[in-house]
């Protein structure tokens, strides 16, 4: 490292990555800010793909590498990315992994192609401007549903209903710890949904989900053309794993995450994990975690920010626990791994045979071997181990490629 002119990589331009970028920019530290999307801001905050360019794209110390897929980071802080035409590699003095979280739906059977995760609908809308045709049902648990529903109605989609398993009472209990920013987002979503005449149901669950019809537990029948379901969140940890960062299982959140210290340093020197990667704690926490990590790298005062981060993390943990309490239990005949078609019963059998690490379950059930590399089913398999009361011992083992890579490129690269 050249102390007078360090270079940093930030992966993910959501709230955490943007906070790191701002702080480094203010200190004049050159950095590459990577994001798969054409615009910064993260899944929730970013503007649509066709919105005009705006900071952080225009800050001198920041090189914003939009539409860049980061494939891996090494323990030596070498980052490998695909910019759409070729593979690139560069070694940095520090790497800030701010890759966020993703939502998913737990296995249900029979599955229909009219379903996706709520986050996938949001990503299609913001990344490619795809507005679903017909009626959209948004269901699951948590405030994210309302944000997605509001994004969709603002884009002109017909949202049939937002069905949130969390009762209003649960939100009321969370209120004292909520941030102004969080409340503003939720209020604005409610306003947009109300203006569009969308039915918002709190404390309601989808008992039966069909191809074009959902039956709620109170007997209400809702018709739809697309369903966006969000049962749980899990951190993106693939890059942290490729960098060799230690992983831990959260029984509360039911996912693997990257444990960090108060400065958001992972177990690998020079690799920081900010925001959801260190545990799903929400956007406001993500932003402050980015400020803390960047200031830690710069050797600046950060005790106040650390306290703020701890406070925000407590809110995130409380919300996570509330969502987890409303999680459906997957049926035996449901498909646990959509890529490979492995069923929940086969996973439960492997667990009953004594296997408690995800890789061992994977090799005997094929869960996690498909194109998505376990991104979808790792939280599912983890839950099926955790439901026996045992904590999963280790996540899916790390493969070379964080994303599929054309053989032609691999040979040329």
């Amino acid at each position: 490292m050249n102390p007078s002119n360090p270079s940093c990589a930030i992966v993910g331009a959501g709230p955490a990555g943007a906070a790191v970028s701002e702080t480094l920019s203010a200190a004049g530290v050159a950095h590459d800010l990577f994001d798969e999307q054409p615009r910064a801001g993260g899944n929730i905050g970013r503007r649509r793909f066709d919105a005009p360019e705006a900071p952080p794209e225009g800050v001198p110390a920041c090189r914003f590498r939009a539409r860049a897929r980061v494939l891996r980071a090494s323990p030596e802080r070498e980052v490998e990315w695909d910019d759409g035409t070729r593979l690139n590699r560069r070694r940095y003095d520090a790497v800030f992994l701010c890759a966020g979280a993703y939502d998913g739906m737990l296995p249900r059977e029979p599955r229909h192609e009219t379903w996706s995760s709520a986050g996938a609908l949001q990503a299609l809308l913001k990344g490619q401007g795809v507005v679903p045709e017909g009626r959209v049902l948004i269901a699951g648990a948590g405030p994210f549903l309302h944000v997605v529903g509001a994004d969709l109605v603002r884009a002109g989609a017909a949202v049939a209903a937002v069905v949130d398993a969390l009762p209003l009472g649960a939100y009321a209990r969370l209120l004292p710890r909520a941030t102004v920013e969080g409340m503003r987002i939720m209020a604005s979503a409610q306003l947009a949904l109300r203006r569009a005449g969308v039915a918002v149901r709190f404390g309601a669950r989808v008992a039966e989900l069909g191809r074009d019809k959902a039956v709620l537990d109170d007997g209400t029948v809702l018709g739809f053309d697309h369903a966006g379901i969000s049962d749980f969140f899990a951190p993106q940890t693939q890059l942290a794993r490729s960098a060799g960062c230690a992983q831990a299982w959260s029984q509360a959140g039911r996912y693997f995450f990257t444990p960090v210290d108060a400065d958001y340093r992972s177990s690998v020197p020079g690799v920081f994990v900010c925001g959801e990667g260190a545990g799903v704690r929400g956007g406001p926490h993500a932003r402050v975690s980015g400020l803390v990590a960047a200031r830690a790298f710069l050797g600046r005062e950060r005790a106040g920010l650390q306290r703020q981060a701890r406070r925000l993390a407590r809110f995130g943990a409380a919300l996570e626990a509330a969502i987890a309490a409303h999680e459906p239990r997957p049926r035996d005949d449901a498909v646990a791994c959509a890529c490979e078609g492995a069923r929940v019963a086969a996973v439960r059998q492997a667990v009953a045979d004594g296997l408690e690490d995800l890789s061992s379950v994977k090799i005997v059930t094929r869960c996690g071997m498909g194109p998505c590399q376990g991104r979808y089913c790792e939280p599912v398999v983890g839950r099926l181990i955790a439901e026996t009361g045992r904590a999963p011992r280790a996540p899916f083992n790390q493969k070379a490629l964080a994303r599929p890579l054309a053989v032609r490129e691999l040979i040329r690269g």
Partner: protein, 381 residues
């Protein structure tokens, strides 16, 4: 202290077959692994059961014997492991190698192994995905492929149903051999008293033996595999570059440079496995893109359609290599209580069934025709 006749350490393919044959021979068996199922080299294997790449000799004979024991296992337990007599095609792009390839086919045929030489014009009749540039090929219709982990799982589930105890996630803390048997001490679980102990622990065997003052030369020889997504390329047989054989047999542990030779095979799930590499770099199991690159270049030369697919995974494993290229199977302690079964290099799946049968024969006093050549004491002072 809990007890059993034999403790089998390691639940990879060698440990699985050793446990199966010992249970079949009437021993009470405990199967133990410090990780989950088959977490070592078997998990990183492509599951080849090949005689095509063997020069006539011990490994050739053992492989033939092993094919019979594999067939017997499948006949007894059913086929839940994608066991498939799909055949292997050895191909060369170099016209100068055609003669040597023909000689290999003829030497095998003379020993009663079905093998067919294919001139350039005939190659694609057997394996349509091969490049028109292939100069010659040999086809071995009886070579097999298996999904390695499912084979271990199938055996484990069978043995568990027969009352064999499987202990996962239990690391050995000490091995204490004596004339009356062996005491095993564990990091977490209860101790175990055994008549015999079988270390089916691949490249990790030397580390287990070292505290006993036994220095067994088994070195990790790293290999990497690149997995391609399901796509429009049908690979019917297992395809290997004819140069593969020479690569396997050239052992120089002092040379850390990777050697690669193309191996391409389809799997039941539709993905395509591309290998292979050989490299002495210690216990490093990380995937090296600089090695995947020549692997994929070589594979796409033999099977041009691969270039249009996408790679989805890469993984690396450690083959247990011995200085003379032959396995080490037999007792290593003064009391004849502690056995090893390792050193199978890249042919562990091919030899595992024969190894299980061999160990059972040795422990029941019947002896094995392979025992002398595989005696680990050839390496011990």
């Amino acid at each position: 202290m809990a007890s059993c006749d034999v403790a089998v350490i390691g639940t990879g393919i060698v440990g699985s077959f050793v446990a199966l044959h010992l249970a079949d021979a009437g021993f009470t068996v405990a199967a133990i692994d410090r990780n989950g199922l088959a977490a070592g080299t078997s998990r990183a294997s492509d599951g080849n059961l090949l005689i095509s790449d063997k020069s006539p000799g011990l490994l050739f004979d053992m492989t033939r014997d092993s094919f019979g024991h594999w067939d017997a296992m499948i006949a007894a337990l059913g086929n839940a492991c994608e066991y498939d007599r799909k055949g292997a095609t050895l191909a060369t792009l170099d016209p100068a190698q055609a003669g040597a390839l023909r000689e290999q086919v003829e030497s095998h045929a003379a020993l009663g192994v079905r093998a067919e030489f294919l001139a350039a014009g005939e190659v694609r009749r057997v394996e349509p995905c091969l490049s028109p540039d292939v100069a010659a090929a040999g086809f071995w219709p009886d070579d097999r492929q298996v999904q390695p982990m499912l084979a271990c799982y199938q055996i484990a589930r069978h043995l568990k149903a027969r009352g064999v105890a499987y202990r996962f996630y239990d690391e050995l803390a000490a091995i204490e051999p004596a004339s009356s048997g062996v005491a095993l001490r564990f990091a977490s679980g209860p101790d175990l008293a055994c008549g015999h102990v079988l270390l089916c622990t691949g490249v990790w065997t030397p580390a287990l033996l070292k505290p006993l003052g036994i220095d067994l030369p088994v070195l990790p020889r790293k290999g990497q595999i690149c997995v391609l997504e399901r796509g429009g390329v049908a690979v019917r047989t297992k395809i290997a570059d004819f140069a593969y054989n020479a690569l396997v047999e050239a052992i120089d542990p002092a040379d850390p440079r990777p050697q690669t030779a193309a191996i391409v095979e389809g799997t039941r799930s539709g993905t395509i496995l591309c290998g292979s590499s050989r490299q002495f770099v210690g216990f490093d199991r990380s995937v090296d893109m600089d090695v995947l690159k020549p692997i994929m270049r070589d594979c796409a030369r033999l099977v041009p359609g691969l270039a249009a697919l996408r790679a989805i995974r890469g993984y690396a494993g450690l083959r247990p290599a011995t200085p003379d290229g032959l396995p080490a199977i037999g007792p290593v302690d003064a009391h004849g209580r502690l056995y090893v079964a390792t050193g199978h290099e890249g042919t562990g799946h091919g030899l595992a069934a024969a190894t299980g049968a061999m160990v059972a024969a040795m422990l029941t006093g019947k002896g094995s025709p392979f025992a002398r050549a595989c005696d680990p004491k050839r390496f011990l002072k």
